[in-house]
Amino acid sequence: MRKSMLIIGLLLSFKTFAATPQELLKQYESQAKQEHSAFAGFSAEKGATFFKTERLHSDGKKVSCATCHTADPRNQGKTRANKVIEPMAPIVNPKRFTDRAKVEKWFGRNCRDVLERACTAQEKGDYVAYMLSIQ
């Protein structure tokens, strides 16, 4: 009985790609080292700038990560279709950055929507570092 519970637990954790934000950062670090041999660590400050910087999208609208997630990641945000987005900062929303597949899915979508390209591992790491630095 105990054993089967353990196995189920293990299977579940594989299925949902459970991780801690620190594990996620380690993964981005090793990727960033491959992308850039001169990798010098992640910066919460750069992450904050990345988060707030507005870019002119080819559809003519100005957009940033803060457009939906709001300028203060401790607040609830809103999608274009008026649905609430729970806060991005783990200090108020501990579920953030604990599901690798979910994090990758949304970096994939949102980076393409905002930057019109994929984010680099450096950018993802800076972003996570910024969110973790928020108290």
């Binding site: 559809d59 994939g108 393409r112």
Partner: protein, 170 residues
């Protein structure tokens, strides 16, 4: 004598009205779309907006939408292949042209055979039912747009649009 007759009349009209109301309510209940569920659909299709019941669009619309998720109304909503396949099959199976439900059938009938709308809000059924709701009402901050059905129909995600449940927020 006269007073007594009036009282009887009043009583019968009250009970007749309430019977009518009750049957009206039953009819509305009958129009609610059947409860459908699929965990992947519920999780993946509700993060940016409310969950739209599959009975609101015909199969061809869902198939077209599911093939263009990387450019979904100006946003990237792409899914991995397995997820995309499962959700497409679920939507197709429960679509407006596959349902034995009055409302779903009416929606389907309002769409010309040669068109494949991606928006429920563009179907003639929708525009007819909402011709008395002004554009400004839809734009209210508490609503956002016509696409946000739940703002006014609190059980929209369950496929229930019955008139007794409509409340337009300020």
């Amino acid at each position: 004598m006269k007073n007594w007759m009036q009282l009887v009349l009043l009583f019968t009209s009250i009970s007749a009205t309430s019977a009518l109301l009750a049957s009206g309510g039953m009819e509305e209940g009958g129009r609610a779309m059947p409860v459908v569920s699929n965990a992947k659909w519920a999780a993946e299709c509700s993060s940016c907006h409310m969950l739209y019941h599959p009975g609101l669009l015909p199969e061809r619309s869902w198939r077209k939408m599911m093939l263009g998720l990387d450019k979904h109304f100006g946003e990237n909503a792409s899914l991995d292949a397995a997820m995309q396949k499962e959700i497409t099959a679920f939507l197709a199976l429960n679509s407006a042209d596959k349902q034995d439900n009055r409302r779903a059938k009416r929606i389907n009938q309002s769409i010309p055979a040669n068109s494949t709308p991606l928006r429920i809000t563009e179907t003639r059924y929708f525009t007819d039912k909402h011709d008395e709701v002004s554009a400004n009402t839809f734009k209210r901050k508490s609503i956002g747009s016509a696409s946000n059905c739940v703002a006014c129909h609190k059980n929209a995600e369950k496929g229930n649009f019955s008139e007794s449940q409509i409340k337009i927020p300020r």
